[in-house]
Symmetry: C2
Subunit: 195 residues, 2 copies
DNA sequence: GTCTATATCTAGATAGAC
DNA sequence: GTCTATCTAGATATAGAC
């Protein structure tokens, strides 16, 4: 593996920053915090990155490219509508497990970051995500496997919110695996809690 | 109405601050922002309040006393378990409608504020909220009206998250009333989306 | 690639006049 | 109750040495 160390220094620093942004918030994390955690001084960070904004930008872009690639694969597959919906939920919980910090940052900081022009792509991603879920829900209704008396827009929001907000309490390595949680969630979502 | 203006100036300023804290975040709202919105200068705010922290403290305390009073009433009532659960959901969506900014602040800033000793009561309120929902769910299971194969702790989290996170997209005066949203949500929660 | 040193800016808070 | 003026602390970012 040639030039692994130099190429990865950037990734290391981004991972350290992501952890802090996720835990304390973007605004509330100082470049000194990041440098301290990395064992260097704040000025040295500017050898690697333009600004604190550039750091969070790179973190979110990289993560979202991967996540939306997975959604696209599901949409393009030939699974039945119910299976696709389940896969989308599982992939999302997988992201919470594998990219916990990135999901947390997107959940907690997107509204703030969207006030800057350079982060306008986050709004595009929100629209894209809405399209994915609405498509899955409409296909399920059309195929007759989902109730047709539900407000699709509201249903989409409930699913989206419950899935992603789990990042606020799920901790990788905890008592329940992310797959167990995803399956319980799907059971409630599909069948309800009424006996 | 004697001395209405002087007594309400405090409340006016708190409402202005709450709106800004909810929209932009606590850390990201400056005392100058608050003063600007109130049409005064930043120094003048300190005639009314000790600090920015005191402002958010008063906002959250007042709101939570009211909300938890309502939960206590539901728990103490003689309605059946299913009705109590429905009432708790309705009361929560009512809070999102009537105290939108306060709910948003609690949702978005609690984790940060909890790093200060003076806000440790927020952790107590979180525990209290958990007890309310767990009690409602357990009573429903014991009475046989809720599925007994569900993880109660996970179910509580899904309900809590989906209810409160609605504050991020619900806007008072929008296309759907908060009661319509609450009823759709209860329909999904109780019966599921499967046809 | 990191450190030293520092420029620049912004924020919370205070004191006293009006 | 508000304004003027200002203090102080802390944050982002830069320049040049090592």
């Amino acid at each position: 593996m040639p030039d692994r160390a130099p190429a990865d220094r950037r990734g290391e620093l981004l991972a350290i920053a992501a952890r802090l942004f996720a835990d304390k918030g973007f605004k509330n994390t100082t470049v000194r915090d990041i440098a301290d955690a990395a064992g260097i001084l704040s000025g040295s960070l500017y050898h690697h990155f333009d600004s604190k904004e550039s750091m969070v930008d790179e973190i979110l872009r990289t993560f979202q490219e991967e996540l939306f690639g997975q959604y696209d694969e599901i949409l393009a597959s030939d699974a039945d509508p119910l299976a696709k919906l389940e896969q989308a939920v599982l992939v999302s919980f997988d992201a919470i497990d594998q990219h916990h910090d990135e999901v947390a940052i997107f959940q907690n900081e997107a509204a703030y970051l969207l006030t800057f022009d350079r982060f306008s792509y986050l709004a595009d991603r929100n629209r894209q995500s809405r399209e994915v879920w609405l498509t899955l829900l409409r296909n399920g209704i059309d195929a007759g496997v989902l109730r047709d008396d539900l407000d699709v827009e509201l249903t989409y929001r409930f699913i989206r919110d419950t899935v992603w907000v789990a990042v606020s309490w799920y901790r990788p390595g905890g008592r329940r695996t992310h797959t167990e949680i995803a399956k319980q969630y799907l059971s409630i979502l599909l069948e309800g809690i009424h006996s």
